[in-house]
């Protein structure tokens, strides 16, 4: 039961309190770009969830491999680490493009525009890097250093993105129908609205410096 509650805490904190968009601004470009086309956003969120899960599992696997060969994680810099993640993500992306365009042409045509943005963005690459940081912080606690922990973290990053995007989308619908000054219409109003949401969510995490 204790184990379960720990996973629940991990899930809630990644979806709500430490939401990647509101606490660190990761994926903000994509959110603003996706919201311009509301029809694509569920599809995009689904794809993003898949890739964040994969990437956080990849980060966990990499630490397992490093531990097997007795290499200190400190030896491998974050840039090198992220390059390896990117190489794997590229392979995955290319494979999915080849397979889908061959065997599921209609589905590929449907997702082909959203797919590259869903793979190569700050949220997908940020998830394993953040999870590695989290594991260093939670050293000794079993749930963080676990395959299930990696899956839950990755899934919740994606769900958090969908949650944030739907909040922003609903707010922007309201804002667009209001009488705004000309200079604030569109993008500036979106920035400020996301800022207010981030202010609201920062109360849940408490006062912490970013990064």
């Amino acid at each position: 039961m204790n184990f379960f509650s720990q996973y629940l805490m991990l899930a809630i904190s990644t979806v709500v309190a430490e939401n990647l968009l509101f606490s660190r601004g990761l994926g903000s470009d994509e959110i603003i770009r996706v919201i311009a086309k509301p029809k694509e956003f569920m599809l995009f969120g689904g794809l993003l969830t898949f890739f964040t899960t994969t990437s956080s599992i990849m980060g966990w696997l990499m630490d397992v491999v490093l531990g097997r060969f007795n290499i200190s994680p400190m030896l491998i810099s974050q840039t090198l680490r992220s390059m390896i993640y990117l190489l794997v993500l590229c392979g995955l992306y290319y494979l999915s493009v080849r397979l889908l365009s061959k065997y599921a042409k209609d589905f590929y045509d449907y997702i082909s525009r959203a797919l590259p943005i869903a793979v190569f963005n700050t949220a997908v690459l940020g998830a394993p890097l953040l999870f590695a940081k989290l594991r260093v912080q939670m050293l000794g606690q079993a749930y963080a250093d676990n395959f299930a922990g990696a899956i839950i973290f990755g899934l919740c990053v994606g769900i958090g993105f969908l949650f944030a995007a739907s909040l922003v989308l609903e707010g922007i619908r309201q804002i667009d129908s209001m009488d705004l000054p000309d200079a604030f219409r569109g993008l500036p109003a979106r920035f400020i609205y996301i800022g207010f949401l981030a202010l609201a969510f920062s109360g849940m995490a408490g006062h912490q410096s970013v990064i």
Partner: protein
Amino acid sequence: MKNPKSQNSTGSISGKHKHAALRKRLRQNFRRLTESHRSWKEDAVRRGHIRSYNPRIDDIDRTFQIRSNSSAKDVFIDGVFYKNPVLVHALGVAPIVGAGTSLKNGIALSILTFLLLFPVNVLASILGRNFKPPQRLSLYVILAAVLLIPVSRYLQYYYPNIVNSLGIFLPLVSVSSLISVRAEVFAIRNSVSRTIVDSFATGLGFALVICLVSAIRELLATGAINGVVFLNQFSFTPATMSFTGFMLLGLIAAGGRKLRQYAIAKKVETEGKGVGER
């Protein structure tokens, strides 16, 4: 109708193979044209009319240029001011919001971004046409990530404090949407020279915004910018959190738009109609 290819060569095109045959004929014409152009250029070099001729770069320059009469100066001013990547297209927001908390960070991030943006965009404009879009998109990211490794080693050696304060946003520069979107939208369709101008403009536009935001946030958070005290005993720590970044970006975007409208109105007044359509 047994062999459609032989039918195409005789001239009567029909049905499914119509487009393929047309495309083939177009390609042949295009190749003939470029070959004649190439031999003409090489003749010109031999005679001394032009200094040098590189078929790969010059042909791409000639054939794939977007037909627009905007000069290099216009491209530059567009990139920095009228079509600022951050304030108009919302590219590269994540590093500004997440890591733009002090002026040092801002300067480091803008230099880093430019160091990756410039080679990726130039290479995209020279070679990008040879690849299909999925390959291209992954190549931008991989190239940026590879370029980031020596740069980050240098930073780690000489400025370890900056690496610590950038945190995860140092590796995230390689997937910044500024680089890949700019390469895919501009560099692919334009000549090398215009791409160089555009990448300078994009880098400068990004640098201006991130330096402004990070300086304001540092001033609010500590009362000083880079050690120079402006506000004595002033400290508003929430300025280092992400919501301040979003709100400042919104305010700056609105201010920029107001300035833009003012500049366009002034231009229309002095030069007549048609200027504001930009």
